[in-house]
């Protein structure tokens, strides 16, 4: 009765790997949370793109538009909305410092109320409570078609200088990217759903692909648990790369590794 019999047949090595991954993720997340280790996310190209966009808008003297995407909070796949909110608080701070006008139309009530609260906190933190302008973050409409047409006209009327589209995007991707291209704005597209990444890549000036938006969100929010989790996932990816290298070397030397996976 060897050790692997406690696992379900045919998936022993896989389940062992899953337990190792889970233990490693929990360990690194807790260590980073208790500041035993100081994980740091490398400087992301996405963050430089956001600074560049706000800089261009300030030069042109035109407003910056931030669109948090169509991802809902509170569901299984709310990573995109969470990254959008963390990035939005950074954008509010940078715009306040550089004196750029900011517009943030949203289509989801929970995201709208959280973003409205972020703007209020930013102005209170900067000591300019009286300058707090509630019209920065607006709730346009929960319906995608209505949201798309109203934001499209808002882009033309306000003649925006740069447009940051960040979060989980779905059907409205191509429409928004096209409208900001026509408004002549410097546009950044960031989304985690694979079917919409190609449109941002083709149309926007900068694109943040897939999991990068979670890393940018964690980098900007300095949230210890999230950075620890991303650090744990990176180590998981490094383990997989080593498995690939060692596995292919062993297989070519004649050691048959493949049945191990089927045990």
């Amino acid at each position: 009765m060897n050790i692997l019999d406690i696992f379900v047949a045919g998936r022993a090595v896989t389940s062992l790997m899953l337990l190792v991954f889970c233990f490693m993720l929990i360990l690194i997340m807790e260590l980073n949370l208790r500041e035993k280790i100081a994980l740091k996310i490398r400087r992301m190209a996405g963050v430089d793109a956001i600074d560049e966009a706000i800089g261009i808008a300030v030069e042109k003297g035109k407003p910056v538009m931030f669109l948090p995407g169509q991802g809902k909070l509170g569901t299984g796949r709310s990573g995109g909305a969470l990254a959008a909110i963390s990035t939005f608080s950074y954008v509010v701070k940078t715009c306040a410092e550089k004196g750029a006008k900011l517009l943030a139309p949203t289509m989801l009530p929970t995201v709208y109320s959280i973003m409205q609260d972020i703007v209020k906190q930013a102005y209170i933190a900067a000591g300019k409570r009286e300058e707090y302008d509630p019209s920065i973050v607006t709730f346009v409409s929960p319906k995608m078609q209505a949201y798309m047409s109203k934001v499209g006209t808002m882009m033309e009327e306000e003649r925006i200088g740069s447009c940051i589209m960040f979060g989980s995007w779905a059907g409205a991707t191509l429409w928004m990217a096209e409208r900001s291209f026509e408004a002549g704005a410097f546009s950044i597209g960031g989304t985690d759903s694979p079917s919409t990444i190609p449109f941002f890549l083709a149309v926007c000036d900068r694109c943040i692909m897939g999991e990068e938006i979670y890393a940018v969100g964690a980098y900007l929010s300095e949230d210890k648990a999230m950075i620890g989790s991303i650090g744990g996932q990176d180590i998981g990816k490094i383990i997989i790369i080593l498995l690939l290298l060692i596995g292919s070397i062993l297989v070519n030397l004649g050691v048959d590794v493949l049945p191990w996976f089927k045990m």
Binding site: G10, R11, P194, S195
Partner: protein, 267 residues
Amino acid sequence: MDKRYIYVLLFVVGSIPFFVPMVLPLPITEMTSKYNDFIESIPDGSIVAFNVQIYRSTWPMLGSGSAVTTTRLFEKDCRIVFFTMSASGVPMIDFNVQEAFKINPKLSDKVYGADWVDLGFVSGDESGLAAFLTNIPGVLPTDSNGTPLEDIPIMKGIKTGGDIKYVINAAGSVSSPPLYFQRQWVAKYGVKLGLIAVKSTGPQVTPFIEAGEMQGALIGTGGCAEYEALTQKPGPALSLTNAGSITIIFLMLLMVASNINYYRGRK
């Protein structure tokens, strides 16, 4: 130029082939030939599970792939357990079987309950499929007509997902089923799975096909047309794919024109 001129052009270019039918030879892609080999490799009389998520709206695009597959399986005397993971697919199970009988009228002597059964809707996406596979009579005690599973001859020996060896996942335009069928059925029970899905799902499932975790796939109207040609059962997909040629050539010319226009404007 107002974008509505482009809409009118797209309508005109799109409808030309319906007034002037064209027949063009169609090369067979690798995914479709693998799918055909998979269907032919299924031993006669074996039980096949069939998830129908092609709705009435996506039927003109993908329906013929599902109907021809059903016909081939019936011709091989396979017994099919139909079910669907989305509410909109519930009426399509019966529609799919009737379309299969239209393709090959000799099949209409197939008996409900002995040759095919319609289990109806399984709710809950990934967790629903997992629950369904661990205990099929537990989650769906009766079929969609209300007869208990014990009285249905085809469901006699079927208790869990492991009792069925072959699965056809007609995922249609829904993007998540291809992934959670691989995670909950192929990974945990080792079944052989064939996929019917839209064109944008094709590139996302190539890792499964190359890894042998998915036996083959009919991707988009083109895949269905190739499968119609392979099984010599002509259907609507062939004419639709030919119709697509003109629209695609028009889109390419539009893209070239826009690039020339952009660079001429910049000079």
